[in-house]
Every structure is written in structure tokens, then in C-alpha cells.
Amino acid sequence: MIDLKVNGKLHQVDAAPDTPLLWVLRDNLGLTGTKYGCGIAQCGACTVHINGQPVRACVTKLAAVGNGAVVTIEGLSNDKSHKVQEAWIAEQVPQCGYCQSGQIMAAVALLQTAPKPTDAQIEAAMTNICRCGTYQRVRKAIYRAAGIKA
């Protein structure tokens, strides 16, 4: 059993220490909002926060999380009320939606460090793949959440 702090709760997880955090979250804890897209840190669908930093859970071993506080998309709010979630709804960002948990987690992490990000900061932070091509709306939603006039 390995201790794991997720969304403010301590869990005892029965998984091998080298299991990627992604699959621990999905299979052991049932937190399926975090998605599998590539498994090699390329797409960002699995983005979660550890101690506020965005990480790719598909290449983060359970053992490496240690005491770190993990936050997943399910931990942002109980009622879609996080300002980034609200902005995502207002701009009608998602299409298929599969990449969107990761996009939102990346955007939340960005706005925590840069509340009024420049375009260069947004582009550097938003490295998540969206096959549906929602990038333009992702940018608008980040502006909206940050209170930036487009």
C-alpha cells in the first residue's frame, strides 16, 4: 500500500510503485477525468497538478509522487465554478472534450503563476494536443479567465 494525496484526500493505493500516476488515478481511484492520450508525455491529456505544478501523469511514477499533493480535474471545484471552467463554458471550448481536462489543468497552472499571462506565456504553457482543433477557443477562454481583453 502506498499513500497518495489526491484532491485533498489521503488514499492508500494498492499498486506497484512504478505504475504511472495516470493509471493509479483512473483504475485504482476511479478518477477518469484524467485521460490517456499517448503515454509518452506528448499530448498532455493526462495533465494533473502536483504541488501546483502541471505534470504529465502518464510518465510520472506513483513512487515519484511521494508526499506531493495531487489535484485532478475533479478537484478543481464541485460545481464547475472554477473561473477557468466557467470561462471554458462561456467560450464553448470543448468539442469531443477528450483533451479538455488536460487543457484546463494546464491553463489553471498557468494562471496560478501568471494571472495576466502574455501571449508568449500562454503559448509556452499550452502544449496540449487537441485533435478537434479547439486552440482558438482555448486562447479566448484563458483571456476571459484572466480578465484580458482580446
Binding site: 505504475t19 503515454g39 471552467q85 470543448p94 469531443c96 472534450g97 485533435r131
Partner: protein
């Protein structure tokens, strides 16, 4: 409170009380002719659901309106647009509308009551609007008649609006919720006229999409996310060489690994799966399992050989697609001749959600949970794989993490059922991204040879286009190959609006062992690039402006001309751009709609391309959800740009060389151009698609812009294999 409102509320209360008193059945002593004939469930011997007006619409006592959606939701937005179209005719209160996915089991039981679950070909609206509007309009008339009967007034004196029927003269009102039970028993009227776009107040608007809220908090359930009690997980390896077979594998090497429960060979011997308690255990063991494959002859096929066969094919006459006038004679006399060959590679769909399916096989039947573009196809595949009749299958349609044509196939359903049958437990099968990219149904490889003859004034006298490529129909639907022509292979060539009096369109089929399938916009994904790049070449050869040249060929067609003109205007055609930048235009019709793109690009001294801006003008005839159309336009631009810049599946030793997003890269956030969407709607009888058309001409628009910026003509994709340096 005004008198009118008082009257309304009183009437409503009386009405509801009346309904309750009679047990929700006949309210207020209505006389109801034709009871039972209205309801399909009745004829199927099942108890009708309270308030069910027809298979599409259920009206609750609380005035909620549930509208059923028969097409899958993969991000294209039809799970909102379909209810809008029904609600428009029904004239209910949109704020009370809920959507639910239609039951494919009922569809099977009730003689295909939902017509089709297939979500492809941009058909969700254009292929359904007649019966969807009919469902809404007839239900509205039934509600009006129920109210009129109750009041003893002629139906023509009543009006339905925002979920309330009003008797105009007296002001009496009744809500749909109060009328529904009675109305459901009225025979549906025939030939109810539809509401014109000009009076639309639900369709034609852009309400928030139903599926969006669940997609911002992780609660939307995709196939990948399904949880079934007692479920185990499977990881799969399919023969790397298409058509290869499992020769042997060493089960003992993985049997004792953590969590591993079984190693199974799939029916047909094309794949092996490892089943474990958890996915990561299954995947780890799968990667460790030694497998010997019998690759067969296909193991010797390489990309170069496939391309050589295509090139040779271009020298053959091929079969006739369309011959008008006398191309050969006109071409021989041409003052100026233009000739070119174009190439477009195999492409993978690379849906964001890798293929997966959860299946449970028991003595009672089969149940599957799946993200598919065709729930009915999934049901059929599950029945066949399990060896049970269709009425023993239950399909749970989940949200799709992308489809783009890939999820029209049901291979993952067949596999999941095949595995579940062997292990006797519910199994969730998950493909790795590597399996997903290496076992697709690829956009066919294709080449084009084009010839154009101009007279001394630069007028187009003769035009020929020969397509040589792999046929999707020959692989998937051979009965659709007509006289040697696969209509999908030549879509976007012979069937465009250009006036061409002496023209010749031919097809040479060159199939390989690589599985092919429908990839967003299908034939136009190659042919719009090829046709519209070549038209640009011809315009330049004629010494004419590309917009002007097209206008000349389109003067007879108002819709195309309008679309072209709007794009030229919105796209600032003719306005100067800085050195190193260029503007390109392209237009195409496919899946019922016309799209015109104007792209602005910049190519720097090192040959690096930036697409700065894209203007999209779409004529889909009608626009049910304009903001969603804009989203689809943005999506089409990104999908096309990904293909254009990076997209290439290549074959080595019979197998796909690419495996994941590191070597099959896609367009990223920082490369996103500014996309502007406009509608140029023809209306009338014409309803076009939205999911695919706005992809098709983009590659040509960008290629033509690159030419304008650099003088380099792009005739082969992807661009990563091209040098755009000007110096």
C-alpha cells in the same frame, strides 16, 4: 397580473388538476379519435411511455421536453443541433429541453424507428432534417388538436408557442406538459408544413451545447472511462504487418506477472491480448510477451513500391469518370498548356481517445459500452462476434473522444467481445496509442495528373484530371465500385461547379495491402488540394488573378459565386501584404456544402511557414447552430493544417513506420492561425453538411498562399518534406 396572465394560470391549474383526476390519461373529458395508432411502442406491444409523442419526443408533466438523438456525439455538436431542429418545429420552451441518446435496441425492435445511427458523411443534420422536423411538427399539431378538443374549438383557432397552446380568441392556455398524455393518443397528422428559416427562433440560434458542461469537470463518460462491476482490463497487440498472423507466443513468460489473468488469441489469429486486473498490469505484460508473427507476403511491401505502382498507374488510360466535349482536340489546339502531377500520402485519424471497448458476454447475451460512430454497426458487430441474435445485444453509446471517420469501423468491438467471451468476465479493451496509429483505416494514398489548355486570351479550353489511388470502396464496400470507379476516390474532381466544356476525368485504381477508410472529407481531402492548387497554377499561367479566373468559370453558379466573392471580400483579397507573406484562395464542394478559404501565410528566410489567418466561408444551405458551425470550421482548419504540415503514414516491411505523436506530430497551440468564419447560405431545399466540408480546400488555399509568398508550387504533401527556403 394582467387579465391574460391570470386567465392563463387559472386555466393551467384547472388543466393539471383535470389530468391528475383521470390518472394522467384522458384529461377534461377529451374525445380522442384514433387512440393508439400514433404510438410505435403500442404497435410493438410495449406499454407506451407517458408523454411520448413519438420515438423522438417525450413531454413530462413538468413541461420538460426530452428529445432523442440518434447520431453519436464526437464533438461535432449534433447532440445539440438535432434537438434544436426538433424543438423548432415543436415550438417548445428551449430552456426545458433535455437530450438523451436514442436506444439502438428499440431501433432494432421497432423496424428502424430512428432511421440510422451512422454518424458520418456529415449526415447528422443534412440526412435527418426531414424526419426530425416532421417529428417536431406533427407533435406540435397533436398538442394543438388535443387542446382544441378539450376546449371544443377548431384547432386552426389555436396557436402553439414556447411550450404553450393558446386559443387565440379566448386567451385560454394549456402547457405542453398538461396536454402531452392526451396529445400522444391523437393520430399524427400527415403533411404538416415546416417552419421557414426566416421565422426560426430555436434553430438558427447558438444556445450553449448540451455536452459542454460535462466536458469541463471530467464527468463526461467516454468509452475509455466506463466502469462495470467485476471488470478486468485487456491490452492488445495486432500483427504489425497488415494481414499477418500469430505464429506462437510464450505465455509462460508473463503468466505470473502481477495481476495477469489470461493471455488470449483473438479469433482470426491476427492479434493477442493480455487480460489483467488493471490496465497497467495488462499493458506491462503485453509488452513483455514474446510473440512470433507470420508476416506473409505483405511483410515485403515498402512505401517506395506502393508509390511506384501509383506512378505507373498514371500512365494507364484508367476508367472514365466524366468526359465532356472533346478534350484531346481542344488540348491539341491550345495556345498554352499546363501539366502537373500531385501526390497525397496515407494519413491516420489519430483520434484523441485511442480505440477501446468494454464488453460483457453472459448466457443471457452481450452488452457493450463503446465510443462508436455507428451504434447500430456496433450492435451488429457484437452480435456476430458473440454468435447471438441482435435482440440479445445491448449497446451503451458513450461520448467519443474524436471520430473523424475512424470510429465508423467496429474492429475494437469485435475484439472486446472476442476477449470477453474467452475470459467470462466483463473486459475493457484499451488500445495503446501505438496500436491506434499502426492499425488504422488510413486516408488512401493518391496521385493526380492534370492538364489544362488555354487559348491566347487565357481562357480555359481543355481540362483533364486523372486520379490514381487506392480505393476505399474496393476495400470496405466493393458493391459500391461502379464500372471500375470508386466515387469517393474521385470526389472533388469531376463534380465541382467549374464550367469546363472539354474535359476528361479518369480513375486508375491501385490498391495496396494497407487498410483504408473514410478520413474526414474523404476524397476531397486529397482532391480539393490537388484541383484547387492546379486551378491556381492555370490562373497564373493565364496571367489572371486567381479569384478573377475562378469567377469566370463559376459565373453560371450563384451559390459558388457568392461563396467565392464573400471569401475574397472578407479575406481582403488584393490588399497588399509585406514581403515574405502571401494570400491564397481555394473553393470546393463536398458533403453537400461549399467552402471557400482565404489563407494568409508568412514564410521566413529559413523556410519556416506560419499560417497567420484563415477566412472560412461556408454555404451549408441552412445553419442550425451557427456558433457550432464556426467551431467546426476552426476544427477543419486545424485538422487540414496538421495533415498538410506533418501528416504522413509510411510503410516499411509491410507495417506502419509511425507510432505516436512524437513521429506523427499534429498542429499545436502556438501554430494556430486566426480563423474567421462566415456563412453564405443558399437556403431553400438544399441542406449541406458541416463536419467535413470546411476542411477540404484549406490545404490548397495555404499552398496557393505559399506560392504567392515564395513562388514555390507545392505539389506533394506533407510540407515537412518540402524546402520552402527562397534564397
Amino acid at each position: 397580473m394582467t387579465t391574460m396572465n391570470k386567465l392563463a394560470s387559472v386555466t393551467r391549474r384547472e388543466f393539471v388538476a383535470g389530468s391528475a383526476a383521470t390518472g394522467g390519461g384522458l384529461a377534461l373529458g377529451f374525445h380522442l379519435p384514433g387512440i393508439g395508432a400514433a404510438n410505435a411502442q403500442v404497435s410493438a406491444g410495449l406499454a407506451p411511455m407517458a408523454g411520448e409523442m413519438n420515438a423522438w419526443i417525450v413531454i413530462g408533466k413538468d413541461d420538460t421536453v426530452t428529445i432523442r438523438v440518434h447520431r453519436s456525439e464526437m464533438g461535432q455538436g449534433s447532440s445539440t443541433a438535432i434537438p434544436q431542429l426538433v424543438a423548432e418545429e415543436l415550438q417548445c420552451d428551449w430552456s426545458k429541453v433535455r437530450m438523451e441518446f436514442a436506444s439502438v435496441m428499440r431501433h432494432i425492435r421497432e423496424n428502424k424507428v430512428y432511421v440510422s445511427f451512422s454518424t458520418g458523411g456529415s449526415q447528422a443534420i443534412r440526412g435527418s432534417h426531414v424526419y426530425l422536423r416532421k417529428a417536431g411538427a406533427t407533435a406540435r399539431e397533436m398538442l394543438i388538436r388535443a387542446a382544441a378538443l378539450g376546449w371544443g374549438v377548431p384547432p386552426a383557432d389555436c396557436r402553439a408557442e414556447k411550450g404553450v397552446v393558446t386559443h387565440v380568441a379566448s386567451g385560454r392556455k394549456a402547457t405542453y406538459g398538461a396536454l402531452a398524455d392526451a396529445a400522444a393518443k391523437i393520430a399524427p397528422p400527415a403533411d404538416v408544413p415546416f417552419r421557414a428559416d426566416a421565422v426560426w427562433n430555436i434553430a438558427g440560434q447558438s444556445p450553449p451545447r448540451f455536452d459542454v458542461p460535462a466536458k469541463v469537470d471530467g464527468s463526461a463518460v467516454f468509452g475509455m472511462d466506463v466502469k462495470v462491476p467485476g471488470m478486468v482490463h485487456a491490452s492488445i497487440k495486432q500483427s504489425p504487418v497488415f494481414g499477418g498472423k500469430v505464429q506462437s507466443y510464450d505465455e509462460a513468460k508473463v503468466k505470473s506477472m502481477p495481476g495477469v489473468q489470461a493471455v488470449v488469441k483473438l479469433p482470426g489469429d491476427g492479434a493477442v491480448a493480455v487480460v489483467a486486473e488493471r490496465y497497467w498490469q495488462a499493458k506491462t505484460a503485453m509488452d513483455a510477451l514474446p510473440i512470433v508473427w507470420d508476416e506473409g507476403e505483405n511483410g515485403k511491401v515498402s512505401q517506395a513500391a506502393i508509390i511506384e505502382r501509383l506512378k505507373a498507374g498514371l500512365n494507364e488510360p484508367g476508367v472514365k469518370v466524366r468526359h465532356d466535349g472533346d478534350f484531346d482536340g481542344a488540348y491539341a489546339k491550345a495556345a498554352k498548356k499546363v501539366e502537373a502531377e500531385y501526390f497525397a500520402p496515407f494519413l491516420d485519424h489519430a483520434c484523441m481517445e485511442p480505440m477501446n471497448c468494454t464488453a460483457s458476454v453472459t448466457a443471457g447475451g452481450v452488452e457493450v459500452w463503446v465510443s462508436t460512430q455507428n451504434a447500430e454497426g456496433a450492435l451488429a458487430a457484437a452480435a456476430e462476434a458473440a454468435g447471438v441474435p441482435p435482440d440479445k445485444v445491448k449497446v451503451n453509446l458513450m461520448y467519443l473522444g474524436g471520430g473523424f471517420g475512424r470510429r465508423g469501423r467496429q474492429d475494437y468491438v469485435t475484439q472486446a467481445v472476442g476477449i470477453a467471451k474467452q475470459v467470462g468476465k466483463p473486459v475493457k479493451l484499451i488500445w495503446s496509442r501505438e496500436e491506434d496509429i499502426q492499425h488504422g483505416f488510413y486516408r488512401p494514398i493518391s496521385m493526380g495528373r492534370l492538364q489544362a489548355g488555354l487559348d491566347a486570351q487565357g481562357n480555359l479550353m481543355a481540362y483533364a484530371h486523372k486520379v490514381c489511388g487506392q480505393s476505399i470502396f474496393a476495400y470496405l464496400l466493393p458493391h459500391l465500385v461502379k464500372d471500375g470507379v470508386d466515387a469517393s476516390s474521385v470526389d472533388g474532381t469531376h463534380n465541382q461547379a467549374y464550367k469546363m466544356d472539354n474535359c476528361k476525368f479518369d480513375f486508375v485504381m491501385r490498391n495496396s495491402h494497407v487498410p483504408v477508410g473514410f478520413w474526414r472529407s474523404v476524397g476531397s481531402s486529397q482532391n480539393a488540394f490537388i484541383t484547387e492548387s492546379f486551378i491556381d497554377e492555370v490562373a497564373h499561367a493565364a496571367g489572371k488573378d486567381p479569384v478573377e479566373f475562378r469567377r469566370g468559370l463559376l459565373a453560371h453558379n450563384k451559390s459558388w459565386t457568392n461563396c467565392l466573392n464573400m471569401a475574397a471580400e472578407k479575406g481582403d483579397w488584393g490588399k497588399p501584404l509585406p514581403k515574405g507573406s502571401g494570400r491564397g484562395i481555394a473553393i470546393n464542394a463536398c458533403f453537400g456544402s461549399i467552402t471557400c478559404h482565404v489563407a494568409e501565410v508568412t514564410v521566413d528566410a529559413r523556410g519556416r511557414l506560419k499560417v497567420d489567418r484563415v477566412v472560412v466561408v461556408l454555404d451549408s444551405g441552412h445553419a442550425v447552430h451557427p456558433d457550432n458551425i464556426a467551431a467546426q470550421n476552426e476544427s477543419g482548419v486545424v485538422y487540414a493544417l496538421t495533415a498538410m504540415m506533418h501528416g504522413e503514414i509510411t510503410i516499411k516491411d509491410g507495417r506502419v513506420e509511425q507510432s505516436n505523436f512524437d513521429n506523427y506530430p499534429v498542429l499545436m497551440f502556438d501554430q494556430m492561425p486566426k480563423v474567421e468564419s462566415y456563412l453564405s447560405l443558399t437556403q431553400g431545399e438544399w441542406w449541406g453538411g458541416v463536419g467535413e466540408p470546411s476542411l477540404a480546400p484549406l490545404m490548397a488555399a495555404v499552398a496557393n498562399a505559399i506560392f504567392a509568398a515564395t513562388g514555390k508550387r507545392i505539389r506533394s504533401l506533407p510540407l515537412k518534406n518540402q524546402d520552402l527556403k527562397t534564397a
